[in-house]
């Protein structure tokens, strides 16, 4: 039989009619040269697949995610209702005021209906964006792995300007994976990354504060729930999937153990 060279690619892609595919298979059995040609094409696909897969692990610029998040969606029918975007910006700004301490620190309550807008750039929004991007990472979930725990604590304490302690949360089903240094609203933020038995990521973030907040606050930004509190010269937040029920408990445990 004779064939066009590109039919070999079409065979590889499952694009040949069944009868023609059988003819190619028959030729492959009899022709080692053709078999080698097919294998070289498969090797290209495998190598290209690995190269393309590696691209997915490159971090997405937070500004790109933020632009998409902040964009006003098309509003069919000119629905005059309050934009969803504004609601979460309000929540993020309120949370910022809380986490940064100061006069805004008393605006947020655990009553979702009582959220108020406070001035400031939404660093919590950055935290949520980081979480959205990094929590999908597998090989590059963290910047420094858990086996360098001592270094992580020294490094992040020096960089963030507040004591960073890695809490043991094993009794809550969380194992420590490692850490990242983030920059949110222009300030260094320590991010300690944990995963549960299902592989879901929970992050504990800390930012230096001269006036840490009192008590715990909870808010939701899109798919994520955030529980925040104040500690020694720092404000903390635990962020995880909104569906999970244990974030308050995790936050309270982390607050005692940091």
């Amino acid at each position: 039989m004779s064939w066009q060279p590109e039919e070999l690619s079409a065979y590889l892609d499952g694009e040949l009619p069944p009868e023609r595919a059988r003819e190619i298979e028959s030729a492959l059995e009899r022709n080692p040269e053709l078999q080698a040609e097919l294998e070289s094409l498969m090797a290209v696909d495998a190598a290209a697949g690995r190269a393309f897969a590696a691209m997915l692990e490159e971090p997405v610029p937070a500004s790109l995610a933020a632009t998409v998040r902040n964009a006003a969606p098309g509003r069919p029918g000119n629905d005059p209702g309050p934009p969803v975007v504004r609601r979460w910006i309000a929540a993020a700004c309120t949370a910022l005021a809380l986490l940064a301490g100061g006069v805004g620190g008393h605006l947020l309550t655990t009553d979702k209906g009582a959220l108020q807008v406070a001035a400031g750039s939404g660093w919590l929004e950055d935290i949520a964006d980081y979480h959205r991007v990094y929590s999908t990472q597998v090989r590059h979930l963290v910047e420094v792995p858990a086996d360098e725990a001592e270094h992580i604590q020294t490094w992040l304490t020096a960089t963030v300007g507040a004591e960073i302690v890695i809490p043991d949360l094993a009794d809550l089903g969380l194992s420590f994976e490692g850490a990242r240094l983030l920059v949110a609203a222009g300030e260094p933020v320590a991010q300690l990354v944990f995963t549960d038995a299902q592989g879901r990521v929970v992050a504990l973030c800390a930012i230096q504060s001269d006036a840490p907040r009192d008590g715990f606050g909870r808010q939701q930004i899109d798919d994520f729930e955030l529980v925040s509190w104040g500690g020694d010269a720092a404000n903390f937040v635990v962020v995880g999937d909104a569906g999970r029920q244990d974030l308050q408990k995790i936050a309270e445990a982390a607050a005692q153990r940091t």
Binding site: S9, A48, L64, V68, P73
Partner: protein
């Protein structure tokens, strides 16, 4: 709906950036392209039929946005796409001293003639059928078959050259 749509888009950003980079062959241009495409998608989200996969719809928008940008650029600088059928060599997206450096496979993929890398990504990685790829890239089905084969042959050649050079 709007929040879900945005969340889906944001979750898809790594794949959109990868596809955009295979088209633009530049990280910066790719991010600009993805941003512009997402804004376009958001402004016409009511046109998306939830019965069709959002990623396919987005890839189409990215590719269309890129083509309109290429047309604008070609008007500005007086040149357009080099048809892939007329090109038989890898072109270099780098200049000067970079061109002399050893390139890894990803760079070699990006150096494939216009749109061959995007076509390879769509078919080999994203799982597009030839018919779907033909629609995405606005080319005949037979051209998809010949181009995807050309892409593989060019890379195979370059891989064997690289292997040979290393030994």
């Amino acid at each position: 709906m709007a929040a879900d749509f945005k969340n889906d888009l944001i979750a898809m950003l790594p794949r959109l950036r990868r596809f955009a980079r295979s088209l633009t062959r530049s990280v910066t241009d790719a991010d600009d392209l993805v941003q512009e495409s997402c804004l376009r998608a958001l402004s016409r989200s009511d046109q998306w039929d939830p019965a069709q996969p959002l990623d396919r719809w987005m890839f189409r928008i990215v590719r269309n946005t890129w083509i309109s940008e290429v047309r604008k650029r070609s008007v500005r600088i007086g040149q357009g796409l080099v048809p892939a059928d007329e090109t038989h060599e890898l072109t270099s997206s780098e200049t000067g001293e970079d061109a002399a450096l050893e390139k890894d496979l990803l760079q070699q993929i990006m150096d494939l003639p216009e749109e061959l890398s995007a076509l390879l990504l769509a078919v080999s990685v994203e799982g597009y059928s030839y018919a779907e790829a033909a629609a995405l890239f606005d080319i005949p089905l037979g051209t998809v078959m010949s181009r995807i084969h050309r892409a593989r042959k060019l890379l195979s050649l370059r891989m064997s050259e690289t292997t040979g050079a290393d030994t």
